[in-house]
Symmetry: C2
Subunit: 442 residues, 2 copies
Amino acid sequence: MADKNVYKPRPISGFPEWSPEVRRTEQRWIDTIRRVFESYGYGNLETPSVEELDVLLAKGETDKEIYTLQRLHEGDGDEGGEARLGLHYDLTVPFARYAAQHFGELVFPFKRYQIQRVWRGERPQEGRFREFYQCDVDVIDLNGVSLTFDAEMAEVAHAVLSTLGIGPFRLRLSNRKILQGYLAGLGVADVIPAIRLLDKLDKIGAEGVVEALQVQLGLAAETAQRCVALAEISSSDASFVEAVRVLGVENELIDEGLEELVFVIEALGHLPEGRVVADLSLARGFDYYTGTVYEGAFLDYSDFGSICSGGRYDDLAGSFINQHLPGVGISIGLTRIFSKLVAEERLDLSRFSPTDVLVVLPGEEVRAVAAGVAQTLRGRGFNVELYHEPTKIGKQLRYAARKEIPFVWFPPFKPGETVHEVKDMAAGVQAEADAETWTPGG
Amino acid sequence: MADKNVYKPRPISGFPEWSPEVRRTEQRWIDTIRRVFESYGYGNLETPSVEELDVLLAKGETDKEIYTLQRLHEGDGDEGGEARLGLHYDLTVPFARYAAQHFGELVFPFKRYQIQRVWRGERPQEGRFREFYQCDVDVIDLNGVSLTFDAEMAEVAHAVLSTLGIGPFRLRLSNRKILQGYLAGLGVADVIPAIRLLDKLDKIGAEGVVEALQVQLGLAAETAQRCVALAEISSSDASFVEAVRVLGVENELIDEGLEELVFVIEALGHLPEGRVVADLSLARGFDYYTGTVYEGAFLDYSDFGSICSGGRYDDLAGSFINQHLPGVGISIGLTRIFSKLVAEERLDLSRFSPTDVLVVLPGEEVRAVAAGVAQTLRGRGFNVELYHEPTKIGKQLRYAARKEIPFVWFPPFKPGETVHEVKDMAAGVQAEADAETWTPGG
């Protein structure tokens, strides 16, 4: 073929694209997540991909890199005075905006989930993308949210992750009141910097944190050690309470936080041992969350970081409405988790093609019969291809093999004949069959 | 509450957003479309929302208004030399780019579907959005695509539209070779402008078109009339052939076109009468398509325009690869159709909430029992909410009523009691039940 003037496209870094068989598995994941969310009575919301830039920035300068939109021929038309639009960088801002706009129509407690792509113009790296799916589930209420939901969020996230079969994982829970009250009780002034350092316990170890607390924040050695002693507490039952008590720090917030965390941990007592643990080092989103906080991680890939996270917040939509809308929610990093398992080749991949049965087309004179078989099988819920031309049977079989189609149907080769046969490609077995009653393996 | 500094968000014109109950129906539609596409063996592809601008513009200046992306803090970082990105304005360009990039991995005929949002920075109006779902199904092959697929595309589109239950609709089919050959046979030089005028037959009527052909293109009155005579031909069986023959215009292309269209129409003979018709006025995308063309429309809203369209094309990915990839495909305007039926209040809307059963929480002392019922019912596939606090039963029932939850479950109100009851909210009937065996209406 003559050389043409072609533009060779390059993959775009940070924008994942899967082959059809991987994509089928991703879609199966999305369906599963949806089903689990709905099984707890959460309703779906899908917002536009864009928000007004003023909405995206309403909480003040964001540290997320926002993509703004510009029409290619802008200024040609033109519609001046239109709001500048940006792609949403999370699903919380759109949910807050939606709740504010539709406040009067909501039934409280308002339970919603959202599974959509979000965009961030950041430098891509392992597990960090510029376009990715996030799966958020939240409940907001008018006058305080029942603590029941703090447990439900962890239960839902656990149900999602275990139903997906992502391998061993752990959900860590804490309550920010404990750490905050404890630091106050110890007389630590720089609460936020102290928490940031305690959050590094995993990475730099207890001694490293103790030293940093002294050097960077000027804490006394004993105070620094007591801080670390709290952060080191973790248990899968309510025994963390006793561990905190023996540290001897008194503060009302500690009591509140412990009581809440006990309620949540005990409500999750029916989950498999070790899947959900109270871990007082968890400091996730401390500036935003006000009570329970969550973070999930793979056990096999400890350096990979968070695979889901969330917590209880004081007010969702305060930037947009004169209403106080407290809530609790959790966000599952679908693309992060999925892409990691793709990279580790640990995904249970779908077949190459969705097709269950290829109906052979022996000749034009039996096309109507073959098409009828395909239609009957489709009506019974099978995915069926009718081979598109009456070519050699061997070629049709090779097509089925290359597409990993598990069954090949042979209609009668001549008009007037009535015997149909179906071949199980994996077993290599061929047997008589009736399209009205045939079942795989039956 | 004290007045806060709030930014009141406005709806963004052209970016549809549905309430959760409408959204549920939209999602059910998407699931249905997916299921129908897969039932014919088409595999799913999902491409990034963006393409390099050079890819979007590879076919030359597009008449679609493209949204380009810009990072808000661009220039801060900075990664110079990155390709400019734009949101895809259809699903054909991404498919072409994908096919070119993965050419070596594809199994031919390559059958794919794609259900994604696309973006166009155009002025919104009824049925025209800036962000909307499109559902494309295509097959491409190496050395010509079997005519079987021309029929299959119409069959798939018909299956989608009738399964969705969108009300009366019609798919019109033609073959561009007929009109092209006919005009050539008549000696009409300005083929494209003539076709554009013939395409207006519906709107300005036969006399209007005859006059325009004379005035604007200088055709003789008789030639103009013979053009219109062809465009007026339509039939739901192969009788259009005879109608063309009696017009007495001879051209090889006419014969080819008629033969192909007869094959397609006859292959669709099993569909309900009147749903699929040959209509020789159809001139859809004449500059792009090379054979069969399709267009679907509502019968009840004749001014609304196309609800699906497509056709056979000579080469998909020629801008990106030195390969000839002919194909045939059809695109279903999901958001167009859906939004019209929403506006006409003709949608069979879902319940307000996905929840099937609300389990009443009579008191903390029976929380474990109530939670156990919820878990058992979820395990059996029901969507279940456990009421979040042990408040008055009347309040819990009102919550169920407001959310249109069809069943309310009453666990025993005191520890030690064993009788469970379930109330059918619509029927107002309450009866004893067992979570392991209960079925709605059972």
